[in-house]
Protein backbone atom coordinates (compact mmCIF):
# COMPACT_ATOMS: atom_id res chain seq x y z
CA UNK A 1 0.00 0.00 0.00
CA UNK A 2 1.09 3.56 -0.70
CA UNK A 3 2.72 4.65 2.62
CA UNK A 4 0.97 7.98 2.23
CA UNK A 5 -2.39 6.26 2.63
CA UNK A 6 -1.52 4.90 6.07
CA UNK A 7 -0.16 8.26 7.12
CA UNK A 8 -3.32 9.97 5.92
CA UNK A 9 -5.39 7.66 8.08
CA UNK A 10 -3.43 8.91 11.06
CA UNK A 11 -3.64 12.53 9.93
CA UNK A 12 -7.39 12.16 9.88
CA UNK A 13 -7.08 11.23 13.55
CA UNK A 14 -5.11 14.50 14.05
CA UNK A 15 -1.73 12.82 14.44
CA UNK A 16 0.87 15.58 14.08
CA UNK A 17 3.77 13.12 13.79
CA UNK A 18 2.06 11.42 10.85
CA UNK A 19 1.57 14.77 9.19
CA UNK A 20 5.26 15.56 9.65
CA UNK A 21 6.16 12.24 8.04
CA UNK A 22 3.87 13.03 5.13
CA UNK A 23 5.53 16.38 4.73
CA UNK A 24 9.00 14.85 4.85
CA UNK A 25 8.05 12.24 2.29
CA UNK A 26 6.20 14.37 -0.24
CA UNK A 27 7.17 18.02 0.07
CA UNK A 28 9.85 17.69 -2.59
CA UNK A 29 7.28 16.45 -5.05
CA UNK A 30 4.78 19.21 -4.27
CA UNK A 31 7.45 21.91 -4.29
CA UNK A 32 8.86 20.53 -7.56
CA UNK A 33 5.47 20.59 -9.27
CA UNK A 34 4.96 24.16 -8.10
CA UNK A 35 8.40 25.19 -9.30
CA UNK A 36 7.98 23.57 -12.71
CA UNK A 37 4.58 25.19 -13.27
CA UNK A 38 5.07 28.57 -11.60
CA UNK A 39 8.76 28.99 -12.31
CA UNK A 40 9.34 30.85 -9.06
CA UNK A 41 10.73 29.30 -5.84
CA UNK A 42 8.85 31.64 -3.53
CA UNK A 43 5.53 30.92 -5.23
CA UNK A 44 6.35 27.21 -5.16
CA UNK A 45 7.01 27.52 -1.43
CA UNK A 46 3.64 29.21 -0.89
CA UNK A 47 1.99 26.50 -2.93
CA UNK A 48 3.66 23.77 -0.89
CA UNK A 49 2.49 25.34 2.34
CA UNK A 50 -1.05 25.68 1.07
CA UNK A 51 -1.27 22.12 -0.22
CA UNK A 52 0.00 20.68 3.06
CA UNK A 53 -2.29 22.92 5.09
CA UNK A 54 -5.10 21.46 3.05
CA UNK A 55 -3.85 17.98 3.89
CA UNK A 56 -4.00 18.88 7.58
CA UNK A 57 -7.22 20.88 7.71
CA UNK A 58 -9.27 18.91 5.19
CA UNK A 59 -7.91 15.36 5.23
CA UNK A 60 -11.32 14.02 4.27
CA UNK A 61 -10.68 15.45 0.79
CA UNK A 62 -8.49 12.40 0.24
CA UNK A 63 -10.88 9.56 -0.40
CA UNK A 64 -8.49 6.68 -0.83
CA UNK A 65 -6.48 5.46 -3.78
CA UNK A 66 -2.90 6.63 -4.18
CA UNK A 67 -1.84 9.51 -1.95
CA UNK A 68 0.99 10.46 -4.26
CA UNK A 69 -1.36 10.64 -7.25
CA UNK A 70 -3.86 12.67 -5.25
CA UNK A 71 -1.39 15.14 -3.84
CA UNK A 72 0.18 15.55 -7.29
CA UNK A 73 -3.18 16.44 -8.80
CA UNK A 74 -3.94 18.84 -5.97
CA UNK A 75 -0.57 20.52 -6.41
CA UNK A 76 -0.90 20.84 -10.18
CA UNK A 77 -4.44 22.14 -10.05
CA UNK A 78 -3.58 24.65 -7.35
CA UNK A 79 -0.57 25.82 -9.32
CA UNK A 80 -2.82 26.37 -12.35
CA UNK A 81 -5.20 28.28 -10.07
CA UNK A 82 -2.30 30.52 -9.13
CA UNK A 83 -1.54 31.17 -12.78
CA UNK A 84 -5.14 32.15 -13.34
CA UNK A 85 -5.59 34.21 -10.21
CA UNK A 86 -2.36 36.14 -10.56
CA UNK A 87 -2.59 36.45 -14.31
CA UNK A 88 1.06 35.66 -14.56
CA UNK A 89 0.65 35.24 -18.28
CA UNK A 90 -2.68 36.83 -19.14
CA UNK A 91 -2.16 36.44 -22.85
CA UNK A 92 -2.25 32.67 -22.58
CA UNK A 93 -5.42 30.68 -22.13
CA UNK A 94 -4.97 28.24 -19.29
CA UNK A 95 -6.71 24.89 -19.61
CA UNK A 96 -9.40 23.57 -17.33
CA UNK A 97 -8.59 21.70 -14.14
CA UNK A 98 -8.76 17.96 -14.11
CA UNK A 99 -11.01 16.18 -11.67
CA UNK A 100 -9.23 15.36 -8.44
CA UNK A 101 -10.51 11.98 -7.46
CA UNK A 102 -8.43 8.88 -7.99
CA UNK A 103 -8.53 6.68 -11.04
CA UNK A 104 -8.42 2.96 -11.56
CA UNK A 105 -4.69 3.20 -12.09
CA UNK A 106 -3.82 4.75 -8.77
CA UNK A 107 -2.23 1.52 -7.59
CA UNK A 108 0.10 1.62 -10.58
CA UNK A 109 1.04 5.20 -9.83
CA UNK A 110 1.81 4.43 -6.22
CA UNK A 111 4.47 1.93 -7.34
CA UNK A 112 6.30 4.44 -9.49
CA UNK A 113 9.13 6.75 -8.60
CA UNK A 114 10.75 9.69 -10.30
CA UNK A 115 13.49 7.72 -12.02
CA UNK A 116 11.10 5.16 -13.44
CA UNK A 117 8.89 7.85 -14.90
CA UNK A 118 11.92 9.66 -16.31
CA UNK A 119 13.09 6.39 -17.89
CA UNK A 120 9.66 5.78 -19.41
CA UNK A 121 9.49 9.35 -20.65
CA UNK A 122 12.93 9.02 -22.21
CA UNK A 123 11.61 6.23 -24.42
CA UNK A 124 9.32 8.65 -26.24
CA UNK A 125 10.38 10.39 -29.43
CA UNK A 126 11.57 13.92 -28.54
CA UNK A 127 8.71 15.60 -30.39
CA UNK A 128 6.15 13.67 -28.32
CA UNK A 129 8.05 14.05 -25.06
CA UNK A 130 8.48 17.79 -25.48
CA UNK A 131 4.80 18.43 -26.11
CA UNK A 132 3.69 16.26 -23.20
CA UNK A 133 6.06 17.86 -20.70
CA UNK A 134 5.31 21.34 -21.92
CA UNK A 135 1.59 20.62 -21.75
CA UNK A 136 1.62 19.14 -18.27
CA UNK A 137 3.91 21.65 -16.62
CA UNK A 138 3.28 24.64 -18.85
CA UNK A 139 -0.36 25.13 -17.95
CA UNK A 140 -1.24 25.98 -21.54
CA UNK A 141 -3.72 24.65 -24.06
CA UNK A 142 -2.89 22.52 -27.07
CA UNK A 143 -3.42 25.54 -29.32
CA UNK A 144 -0.71 27.36 -27.40
CA UNK A 145 1.54 24.32 -27.70
CA UNK A 146 1.02 24.36 -31.47
CA UNK A 147 1.86 28.05 -31.59
CA UNK A 148 4.96 27.75 -29.43
CA UNK A 149 6.36 24.79 -31.32
CA UNK A 150 5.21 26.02 -34.74
CA UNK A 151 3.51 22.68 -35.30
CA UNK A 152 0.13 22.09 -36.99
CA UNK A 153 -2.67 21.65 -34.47
CA UNK A 154 -3.62 18.22 -35.79
CA UNK A 155 -0.03 17.05 -35.42
CA UNK A 156 0.07 18.28 -31.84
CA UNK A 157 -3.08 16.32 -31.00
CA UNK A 158 -1.82 13.15 -32.63
CA UNK A 159 1.59 13.38 -30.96
CA UNK A 160 0.09 13.94 -27.53
CA UNK A 161 -2.26 11.00 -27.85
CA UNK A 162 0.42 8.69 -29.25
CA UNK A 163 2.93 9.85 -26.66
CA UNK A 164 0.59 9.37 -23.71
CA UNK A 165 -0.32 5.89 -24.93
CA UNK A 166 3.34 4.93 -25.26
CA UNK A 167 4.09 6.44 -21.88
CA UNK A 168 1.24 4.53 -20.28
CA UNK A 169 2.49 1.33 -21.86
CA UNK A 170 6.05 1.96 -20.68
CA UNK A 171 4.86 2.81 -17.17
CA UNK A 172 2.76 -0.32 -17.09
CA UNK A 173 5.84 -2.40 -17.85
CA UNK A 174 7.85 -0.57 -15.20
CA UNK A 175 5.12 -0.83 -12.62
CA UNK A 176 4.42 -4.50 -13.13
CA UNK A 177 4.96 -6.41 -9.89
Amino acid sequence: MDPGVRLMERVQARDVAAFESLYDGYHRLVFGIGLRILGDPTMAEDLTQTVFLKVWTAPEAFRGGSFVAWVSRVARNRALDVLRARSVRPEIEIPADLPLEGSLDDDVLSRLDAQRVRDALAQLPPEQRGLIEMGFFGGVTHQELARRTDTPLGTVKTRIRSGLRRLRQALGEHAAP
Binding site: V16, Y23, H27, L29, F31, G32, L35, P41, T48, Q49, T50, K54, T57, A58, E60, A61, R63, A69, S72, R73, V74, R76, N77, R78, D81, R84, A85, E93, P95, A96, D97, L98, P99, L100, E101, S103, L104, D105, V108, L109, L112, A114, R116, V117, I132, E133, G135, F136, F137, V140, T141, L145, K157, T158, I160, R161, L164, R165, L167, R168
Partner: protein, 261 residues
Protein backbone atom coordinates in the same frame (compact mmCIF):
# COMPACT_ATOMS: atom_id res chain seq x y z
CA UNK B 1 -15.47 13.98 -42.11
CA UNK B 2 -16.51 10.34 -41.70
CA UNK B 3 -17.92 8.94 -38.47
CA UNK B 4 -14.67 7.06 -37.95
CA UNK B 5 -12.46 10.11 -38.41
CA UNK B 6 -14.76 12.13 -36.15
CA UNK B 7 -14.43 9.46 -33.52
CA UNK B 8 -10.64 9.50 -33.83
CA UNK B 9 -10.70 13.28 -33.47
CA UNK B 10 -12.76 12.94 -30.30
CA UNK B 11 -10.37 10.33 -28.91
CA UNK B 12 -7.51 12.74 -29.55
CA UNK B 13 -9.43 15.31 -27.55
CA UNK B 14 -9.80 12.75 -24.77
CA UNK B 15 -5.99 12.55 -24.65
CA UNK B 16 -5.74 16.35 -24.49
CA UNK B 17 -8.24 16.35 -21.66
CA UNK B 18 -6.29 13.65 -19.83
CA UNK B 19 -3.11 15.71 -20.11
CA UNK B 20 -4.97 18.82 -18.99
CA UNK B 21 -4.35 20.96 -22.06
CA UNK B 22 -7.88 21.18 -23.40
CA UNK B 23 -9.40 24.67 -23.47
CA UNK B 24 -12.27 25.15 -21.07
CA UNK B 25 -14.86 25.70 -23.78
CA UNK B 26 -14.16 22.27 -25.28
CA UNK B 27 -14.29 20.27 -22.08
CA UNK B 28 -18.07 19.91 -21.88
CA UNK B 29 -18.20 18.20 -25.26
CA UNK B 30 -15.34 15.86 -24.38
CA UNK B 31 -16.74 15.12 -20.92
CA UNK B 32 -20.06 14.19 -22.53
CA UNK B 33 -18.27 11.97 -25.03
CA UNK B 34 -16.35 10.20 -22.26
CA UNK B 35 -19.49 9.79 -20.19
CA UNK B 36 -21.28 8.17 -23.11
CA UNK B 37 -18.58 5.94 -24.56
CA UNK B 38 -17.00 2.96 -22.77
CA UNK B 39 -13.87 2.93 -24.94
CA UNK B 40 -13.35 6.65 -24.41
CA UNK B 41 -13.75 6.20 -20.66
CA UNK B 42 -11.16 3.41 -20.60
CA UNK B 43 -8.78 5.47 -22.69
CA UNK B 44 -9.29 8.48 -20.45
CA UNK B 45 -8.49 6.43 -17.33
CA UNK B 46 -5.37 4.98 -18.93
CA UNK B 47 -4.03 8.24 -20.29
CA UNK B 48 -4.87 10.25 -17.20
CA UNK B 49 -2.82 7.80 -15.16
CA UNK B 50 0.12 8.37 -17.51
CA UNK B 51 -0.34 12.13 -17.30
CA UNK B 52 -0.53 12.09 -13.52
CA UNK B 53 2.67 10.06 -13.38
CA UNK B 54 4.48 12.96 -15.06
CA UNK B 55 4.32 14.77 -11.74
CA UNK B 56 6.92 12.33 -10.41
CA UNK B 57 9.53 13.88 -12.66
CA UNK B 58 9.28 17.07 -10.62
CA UNK B 59 10.41 15.25 -7.47
CA UNK B 60 13.82 16.79 -6.94
CA UNK B 61 15.82 17.96 -3.91
CA UNK B 62 14.73 21.24 -2.38
CA UNK B 63 17.27 23.73 -1.14
CA UNK B 64 17.85 22.70 2.48
CA UNK B 65 17.49 26.17 3.97
CA UNK B 66 14.24 26.74 2.14
CA UNK B 67 12.99 23.31 3.08
CA UNK B 68 13.79 23.83 6.77
CA UNK B 69 12.17 27.26 6.83
CA UNK B 70 9.05 25.98 5.14
CA UNK B 71 8.75 23.01 7.43
CA UNK B 72 9.24 25.10 10.54
CA UNK B 73 6.51 27.54 9.48
CA UNK B 74 4.09 24.79 8.51
CA UNK B 75 4.63 22.64 11.57
CA UNK B 76 4.18 25.65 13.86
CA UNK B 77 0.73 26.22 12.41
CA UNK B 78 -0.18 22.55 12.54
CA UNK B 79 0.99 22.12 16.13
CA UNK B 80 -0.87 25.24 17.18
CA UNK B 81 -3.98 23.97 15.49
CA UNK B 82 -3.68 20.54 17.06
CA UNK B 83 -3.08 22.06 20.49
CA UNK B 84 -6.05 24.35 20.25
CA UNK B 85 -8.37 21.51 19.31
CA UNK B 86 -10.05 23.80 16.83
CA UNK B 87 -9.73 21.26 14.11
CA UNK B 88 -13.07 21.93 12.49
CA UNK B 89 -13.06 25.65 13.04
CA UNK B 90 -9.67 25.92 11.46
CA UNK B 91 -10.91 24.40 8.25
CA UNK B 92 -11.98 26.73 5.57
CA UNK B 93 -11.00 29.79 3.69
CA UNK B 94 -9.15 31.35 6.59
CA UNK B 95 -6.69 28.49 6.57
CA UNK B 96 -5.71 29.18 2.98
CA UNK B 97 -4.46 32.20 1.12
CA UNK B 98 -7.37 33.85 -0.62
CA UNK B 99 -5.89 33.31 -4.05
CA UNK B 100 -6.07 29.55 -3.65
CA UNK B 101 -9.81 29.30 -3.65
CA UNK B 102 -12.56 30.25 -5.95
CA UNK B 103 -10.84 30.20 -9.29
CA UNK B 104 -10.69 26.46 -9.51
CA UNK B 105 -14.30 26.12 -8.54
CA UNK B 106 -15.35 28.76 -11.00
CA UNK B 107 -13.42 27.00 -13.70
CA UNK B 108 -15.04 23.68 -12.92
CA UNK B 109 -18.47 25.26 -12.91
CA UNK B 110 -17.76 26.92 -16.21
CA UNK B 111 -16.69 23.62 -17.65
CA UNK B 112 -19.71 21.71 -16.54
CA UNK B 113 -22.34 24.31 -17.11
CA UNK B 114 -20.98 25.92 -20.20
CA UNK B 115 -23.72 24.33 -22.25
CA UNK B 116 -26.48 24.74 -19.71
CA UNK B 117 -28.37 27.94 -19.20
CA UNK B 118 -28.93 27.93 -15.48
CA UNK B 119 -31.09 31.00 -15.78
CA UNK B 120 -33.65 28.79 -17.47
CA UNK B 121 -34.17 26.93 -14.25
CA UNK B 122 -37.63 28.42 -13.99
CA UNK B 123 -40.41 26.30 -15.30
CA UNK B 124 -43.41 28.47 -14.65
CA UNK B 125 -44.09 31.60 -12.71
CA UNK B 126 -45.25 29.45 -9.84
CA UNK B 127 -41.91 27.72 -9.82
CA UNK B 128 -39.94 30.93 -9.61
CA UNK B 129 -39.84 31.06 -5.83
CA UNK B 130 -38.82 27.40 -5.64
CA UNK B 131 -36.15 27.97 -8.24
CA UNK B 132 -34.85 30.95 -6.31
CA UNK B 133 -34.72 28.85 -3.18
CA UNK B 134 -32.87 26.17 -5.06
CA UNK B 135 -30.49 28.75 -6.47
CA UNK B 136 -29.90 30.09 -2.99
CA UNK B 137 -29.27 26.58 -1.76
CA UNK B 138 -26.88 25.96 -4.59
CA UNK B 139 -25.11 29.23 -3.83
CA UNK B 140 -24.69 28.12 -0.24
CA UNK B 141 -23.45 24.77 -1.45
CA UNK B 142 -20.99 26.46 -3.75
CA UNK B 143 -19.76 28.63 -0.90
CA UNK B 144 -19.34 25.52 1.18
CA UNK B 145 -17.51 23.93 -1.69
CA UNK B 146 -15.07 26.80 -1.74
CA UNK B 147 -14.22 25.90 1.83
CA UNK B 148 -13.78 22.28 0.97
CA UNK B 149 -11.28 21.56 -1.72
CA UNK B 150 -12.71 18.06 -2.04
CA UNK B 151 -15.88 19.32 -3.64
CA UNK B 152 -14.39 21.70 -6.15
CA UNK B 153 -14.52 19.38 -9.11
CA UNK B 154 -17.34 17.23 -7.86
CA UNK B 155 -19.51 17.35 -10.90
CA UNK B 156 -16.78 16.53 -13.37
CA UNK B 157 -15.57 13.81 -11.07
CA UNK B 158 -19.08 12.38 -10.82
CA UNK B 159 -19.49 12.29 -14.59
CA UNK B 160 -16.29 10.34 -15.09
CA UNK B 161 -16.28 8.24 -11.93
CA UNK B 162 -15.97 4.47 -12.42
CA UNK B 163 -18.48 3.87 -9.63
CA UNK B 164 -21.21 6.06 -11.12
CA UNK B 165 -24.36 4.31 -12.34
CA UNK B 166 -25.05 4.96 -16.01
CA UNK B 167 -28.36 4.62 -17.81
CA UNK B 168 -28.35 4.77 -21.59
CA UNK B 169 -31.08 6.92 -23.15
CA UNK B 170 -31.62 8.05 -26.72
CA UNK B 171 -29.72 11.36 -26.51
CA UNK B 172 -26.92 10.13 -24.22
CA UNK B 173 -26.59 8.96 -20.64
CA UNK B 174 -28.22 9.57 -17.28
CA UNK B 175 -25.55 9.40 -14.59
CA UNK B 176 -26.23 8.82 -10.93
CA UNK B 177 -23.57 9.05 -8.29
CA UNK B 178 -24.39 9.04 -4.62
CA UNK B 179 -27.25 11.53 -4.18
CA UNK B 180 -26.68 13.34 -7.45
CA UNK B 181 -28.22 12.93 -10.92
CA UNK B 182 -26.83 14.30 -14.17
CA UNK B 183 -27.79 14.23 -17.81
CA UNK B 184 -24.81 13.91 -20.17
CA UNK B 185 -26.35 14.27 -23.60
CA UNK B 186 -24.48 14.43 -26.87
CA UNK B 187 -27.20 13.73 -29.41
CA UNK B 188 -29.99 16.17 -28.66
CA UNK B 189 -31.83 17.49 -31.67
CA UNK B 190 -32.00 21.19 -32.42
CA UNK B 191 -35.08 22.91 -31.03
CA UNK B 192 -37.55 25.15 -32.84
CA UNK B 193 -37.60 28.74 -31.71
CA UNK B 194 -39.44 29.22 -28.44
CA UNK B 195 -38.93 25.64 -27.31
CA UNK B 196 -36.65 24.14 -24.66
CA UNK B 197 -35.96 20.73 -23.25
CA UNK B 198 -37.39 20.14 -19.79
CA UNK B 199 -36.38 17.50 -17.27
CA UNK B 200 -38.95 15.63 -15.19
CA UNK B 201 -38.52 13.48 -12.11
CA UNK B 202 -40.81 11.05 -10.33
CA UNK B 203 -40.21 9.86 -6.76
CA UNK B 204 -39.60 6.20 -6.12
CA UNK B 205 -42.85 4.25 -6.26
CA UNK B 206 -44.71 7.03 -8.06
CA UNK B 207 -45.58 7.74 -11.69
CA UNK B 208 -46.37 11.39 -11.13
CA UNK B 209 -43.79 13.53 -12.86
CA UNK B 210 -42.64 16.73 -11.22
CA UNK B 211 -41.20 19.54 -13.36
CA UNK B 212 -37.49 20.11 -13.09
CA UNK B 213 -34.99 22.29 -14.94
CA UNK B 214 -35.26 23.42 -18.52
CA UNK B 215 -32.22 23.47 -20.76
CA UNK B 216 -31.01 23.88 -24.31
CA UNK B 217 -28.16 21.97 -25.96
CA UNK B 218 -25.25 23.69 -27.65
CA UNK B 219 -24.79 23.64 -31.40
CA UNK B 220 -23.25 20.15 -31.19
CA UNK B 221 -26.32 18.75 -29.45
CA UNK B 222 -24.47 18.57 -26.15
CA UNK B 223 -25.94 19.39 -22.75
CA UNK B 224 -24.65 18.47 -19.32
CA UNK B 225 -27.30 19.07 -16.70
CA UNK B 226 -27.16 18.64 -12.94
CA UNK B 227 -30.67 17.98 -11.67
CA UNK B 228 -31.51 19.79 -8.42
CA UNK B 229 -32.91 16.67 -6.73
CA UNK B 230 -31.85 14.08 -4.21
CA UNK B 231 -31.04 11.08 -6.39
CA UNK B 232 -31.78 8.65 -3.58
CA UNK B 233 -35.44 9.65 -3.77
CA UNK B 234 -35.83 9.66 -7.55
CA UNK B 235 -37.32 6.62 -9.27
CA UNK B 236 -37.69 7.87 -12.84
CA UNK B 237 -36.39 10.72 -14.97
CA UNK B 238 -37.68 11.97 -18.28
CA UNK B 239 -37.17 14.76 -20.79
CA UNK B 240 -39.67 16.42 -23.10
CA UNK B 241 -39.76 19.43 -25.38
CA UNK B 242 -41.73 22.29 -23.85
CA UNK B 243 -42.42 25.97 -24.43
CA UNK B 244 -39.81 28.38 -23.11
CA UNK B 245 -40.27 28.82 -19.39
CA UNK B 246 -41.27 25.21 -18.98
CA UNK B 247 -44.54 23.47 -18.21
CA UNK B 248 -46.21 22.14 -15.10
CA UNK B 249 -46.85 18.82 -16.83
CA UNK B 250 -45.45 17.37 -20.06
CA UNK B 251 -47.25 18.70 -23.12
CA UNK B 252 -45.40 16.57 -25.70
CA UNK B 253 -44.39 12.93 -25.99
CA UNK B 254 -41.24 12.58 -23.87
CA UNK B 255 -37.89 12.23 -25.63
CA UNK B 256 -37.30 9.43 -23.13
CA UNK B 257 -38.57 8.09 -19.84
CA UNK B 258 -35.95 6.21 -17.83
CA UNK B 259 -36.50 4.35 -14.55
CA UNK B 260 -33.40 4.50 -12.34
CA UNK B 261 -33.34 0.95 -11.11
Amino acid sequence: MTDESMREAMLESVALYALGVLPREETALVAAFIANDDEARREYDELRAAATALAHTADEPVDSARSARLKERLMARVRADAASGRMTAARGAAAYPAWMWGTGLAAAAAVVFSVVTVAQDVNTRGELAAAQRRAATLAVELAESQRSGAAENRTLTDLLAPDARRYAVAPGTVIVRRDRVYFAFSKLGALPKGRVYQAWTAPRGSTTMAPSVTFTPNSDGVAIVALPVDATRVGTVAVSVEPEGGSKAPTTTPTFVRPLS
